[in-house]
Symmetry: C2
Subunit: 258 residues, 2 copies
């Protein structure tokens, strides 16, 4: 099965996939998303991108922890008490972290897994069906994306590109936007090096983080309070490929801001 | 004239506004964008967002410099020669900078104007109609956005939200995405604090950088080589407001990564 990129897009459409039931550990996410696509009578076509938020992926994969069952270390207790944070949450974030970038001013910024940088290791307290529970990031969101891609391909006969997103803050700028933490079926970085630009000049150095732009676009419909955990995007001529969201991570030694 | 937010969006549409002539200093950007909206037979409706790239704004505003007319300082010459850069470009970037965040490893990361952080002060060499020329960021992209909003309101009878975008790299992640450097007519930060989430729980702290997400979404259609300098986005229920893109900038003293 191959994804045939659509011709150069002049228009994009994004459809909210709402109405999913509360996701529980072990749920078949492919079936739930497929049902939502059917319920919206959208069909699934070559070139479509399916974008799902981290929360439902983590829940389906059982990446849920009850805070009352976490025993905070002295380090977590000290940091938490200094800044009026939950010591169990800080403890979990430290356990999930492979690197602590900043732990000051009430902020705990870490890298996890393959190197995604996020506050509190991406641990999320909102949208929990039960109080006192949090979700951790998927163990391998690229694999989660690939599994969803395969499930949707089996059901609809065409394989969409799939992106798993999460909402993070950024240096230098206020507010959060959505980023790709998992991806399957597309080139996450679209390299414009060497293509001619509008004026026929060679472009010098433009690599677009396509998967992050797709994530941010979907984030417009996924507003936290909107009950929209997934989005179908149609009309974007992405390049098919086997890159993963891990390819979006800047190698530590090339990073000027760690 | 007021913008009436649409009901909660379940679908978004983004339309490429292409076919603009090469923009020259003094051109009437409102007329050019208005013509492109007419040519695409899109009309302009309450709740629409018009998103334009920095380059055509800078060109219309005459923010163009011929590199051969720039006399590099010794500091610019030294940095440029160490990393095989154009000394005139480095000189211009240093002149535009209000703060140098990093100047190492061939990278010059600065803050300009109100505090937008970008490589080389956002100076852009691609898509120039004449070789050896570069564009600087607009002097006040928020004012540029407001002027375009007023021009389109006068022509179409309804005022769109307007965003001016530019394409920047990010810490921690590879590739570039589009950000809002100017905005008019909307709340650029949509504060979800205190709203109930899907499960009825109060959200704790989620402020979405809506203008940046709109910019990134439009960036999907603005691919550098695509000849699409502007995008019309329809169906997003933004909150009307008088914030500017300056409100997206994290105050220096709150920034852990400078």
């Amino acid at each position: 099965m191959s994804v045939a990129p659509a011709p150069a897009a002049r228009a994009l459409q994004l459809f909210a996939l709402g109405g999913l039931p509360a996701v529980e550990p072990g749920d078949d996410l492919g079936a739930l998303i497929g049902d939502a696509i059917d319920a919206a009578a959208l069909g699934l076509y070559a070139g479509d991108v399916v974008i799902v938020c981290q929360k439902i992926v983590s829940k389906a994969e059982g990446r849920i922890v009850r805070l009352s069952e976490v025993d905070p270390s002295p380090r977590a207790r000290e940091f938490a008490s200094s800044f009026d944070k939950d010591p169990a949450l800080i403890e979990l974030a430290l356990r999930e972290a492979t690197e602590v970038l900043r732990m000051q001013g009430g902020h705990l910024i870490t890298a996890t897994g393959k190197g995604v940088v996020a506050a509190n290791s991406g641990i999320d307290r909102s949208n929990q069906s039960r109080r006192g529970q949090v979700t951790l990031l998927p163990l391998d969101a690229d694999r989660s994306a690939e599994a969803l891609r395969e499930a949707l391909a089996a059901r609809f006969g065409t394989a969409p590109a799939v992106i798993v997103t999460d909402t993070f803050g950024r240096p230098w700028r206020l507010g959060q936007i959505d980023f790709a933490i998992g991806a399957a079926g597309l080139r996450v970085l679209d390299d414009h090096l060497g293509r001619a630009d509008w004026s026929g000049r060679r472009l010098e150095h433009t690599v677009i983080a396509v998967a992050d732009q797709l994530a941010a676009a979907a984030g417009l419909l996924m507003g936290k309070a909107g009950g929209v955990p997934a989005v179908l995007l149609r009309g974007y001529a992405y390049s098919a490929g086997t890159e993963t969201a891990g390819d979006l991570l800047r190698p530590r030694e090339q990073d000027l801001f760690r």
